[in-house]
């Protein structure tokens, strides 16, 4: 082998190592601890509602967040996992790093990748403290032994492909900047874009399933379900109070009630929020950007 060829080979190997590291290296997370104080657990309970965890992870009957709900998408059917602290089938024994890696980076405890049916890209904007409080609440719940079905996906949908998918998604457009410093609207943005992950249903996706953030909240169809547009144009005839009232009771200004998946979101998520947080969501969705 000539020196030139050896050089090319070395450079190629080095480049592959760099790409491999870039795709698969575990991101760094803060070294925190999960509190078991009542205050943390109480805050965590509120955040579990605000984070929309219940709508997907709720098990049958009174079995807590033991999972099993089918999420039908264009890429196959995903089953929400058991997030009770059962050691064999749930998240029992998880530490702070595992919670931060899962919620903010979409990584499993063994270093693999979650599918983005789990909204970790929205949760990536969550504060570490909120993640720790969610962890405190989840770990304080009754463990339920429940094995959920395996995802039913196309053969090519490997978890490892998600490494590349995440990087591609990083390159796509970001949500429009908010032209305001109003703390109410910023709180609403955090609730809508991060905790409540409203865009997962209400923002259209491209062919690879990535959110088209330039059309944030423009309405979208996935599988058989359609989520309405919730941007200022779509809400022209809605006042802020109308929207906040809708988030409380699911009743539209014309007296009609919402049904389907949004009804469940109202029940487990938005109706459980404080009046201030519902007002913040209304202010955010009505804000021009």
């Amino acid at each position: 082998m000539t020196r030139k060829r050896r050089g090319i080979l070395s450079a190629t190997v080095l480049l592959l190592c760099v790409i491999f590291y870039w795709l698969f290296a575990a991101p760094g997370v803060a070294d925190l601890s999960i509190s078991s104080t009542e205050l943390s657990i109480e805050r965590g309970e509120y955040l579990v509602h605000a984070g929309g965890c219940i709508s997907c992870h709720q098990g049958e009957g009174a079995s807590g967040l033991s999972g099993g709900m089918a999420l039908v998408s264009d890429f196959g059917t995903f089953y929400a996992p058991n997030i009770t602290p059962d050691v064999s089938t749930g998240i029992g024994g998880w530490n702070s790093r595992e919670f931060l890696m899962a919620l903010k980076h979409g990584r499993t405890p063994n270093g693999s990748f979650y599918y983005p049916a789990f909204p970790y890209r929205a949760y990536s904007g969550m504060s570490d403290q909120d993640v720790m409080d969610i962890a405190a609440y989840l770990l304080a719940q009754e463990p339920v032994t429940h094995t959920v079905p395996k995802h039913d996906l196309s053969m090519w949908m490997s978890r490892w492909f998600m490494a590349g998918w995440n990087r591609l998604a990083d390159f796509s457009a970001k949500p429009p900047l908010l032209k305001t410093e109003d703390p109410l609207i910023l709180r609403g943005a955090y609730l809508a874009r991060n905790l409540g992950h409203c865009g997962e249903c209400h923002t259209p996706r491209n062919a690879l399933g990535m959110l088209q953030q330039s059309r944030e909240f423009a309405g979208a169809t996935m599988g058989e379900s359609h989520a309405d547009a919730i941007n200022p144009d779509a809400l022209t005839s809605w006042g802020r109070e109308d929207f906040a009232f809708f988030l409380l009771l699911g009743m539209k200004p014309d007296g009609e009630f919402i049904g389907g998946e949004m009804e469940s979101v109202i029940e487990h998520n938005t109706s459980m929020l404080s009046d201030e947080d519902r007002a913040a969501l209304a202010a955010f969705f009505k804000q021009e950007r």
């Binding site: 009232f245 409380l248 009771l249 699911g250 009743m251 007296g255 009609e256 009630f257 919402i258 049904g259 389907g260 009804e263 109202i266 029940e267 109706s271």
Partner: protein
């Protein structure tokens, strides 16, 4: 001549009377029956809405809270709700009538009946809550009952 004219007039009047009586006695066409069924259904939903609107007005703050009115209306709703599956037993999908009821109601009658029964249960729960007289519980009960309405409309009613 006059007698003849009067005679002919009587014959015409009697004949038209016979026609009118026989028209009144004629069986309604299937199309007319379907229109009547749709009309009855729509009247039921108007009544349900009338009773619910008063309570949701209390939740919105446009009407002063009145526990007695909430209880009365919730009881009425619980009485009326079981009529939904009853009235939809008449299959009207083959007729050209004015309705927002989608034909899939009768294609997927089991699913429709399940959703209608969920609504009946939600109405009974709502009425029981209203009998308790507690303001926040009553206003919160609207969400669960309204959600049962919305769940059915989502699939089975024209947008």
């Amino acid at each position: 001549m006059l007698k003849q004219i009067v005679g002919i007039g009587l014959v015409v009047i009697s004949a038209s009377g016979v026609i009118s009586v026989s028209a009144q006695q004629a069986e309604p066409t299937p199309e007319e029956l379907a229109a009547q069924a749709a009309d009855t259904r729509q009247s039921l939903f108007k009544l349900l809405r009338y009773n619910l609107n008063m309570i949701s007005g209390m939740a919105r703050g446009t009407v002063a809270f009145d526990a007695a009115v909430a209880e009365r209306n919730a009881n009425r709703i619980a009485e009326l709700a079981p009529m939904i599956p009853e009235l939809f037993a008449a299959d009207t999908r083959a007729y050209n009538i004015e309705t927002e009821a989608l034909p899939i109601i009768w294609d997927r009658m089991d699913e429709f009946t399940e959703k209608a029964n969920n609504l009946v249960n939600a109405a009974n729960t709502f009425a029981a809550t209203a009998r308790g007289g507690e303001r926040n519980a009553i206003l919160g009960g609207i969400r669960a009952f309204g959600g049962a309405c919305g769940n059915c409309h989502e699939t089975f009613r024209e947008d």
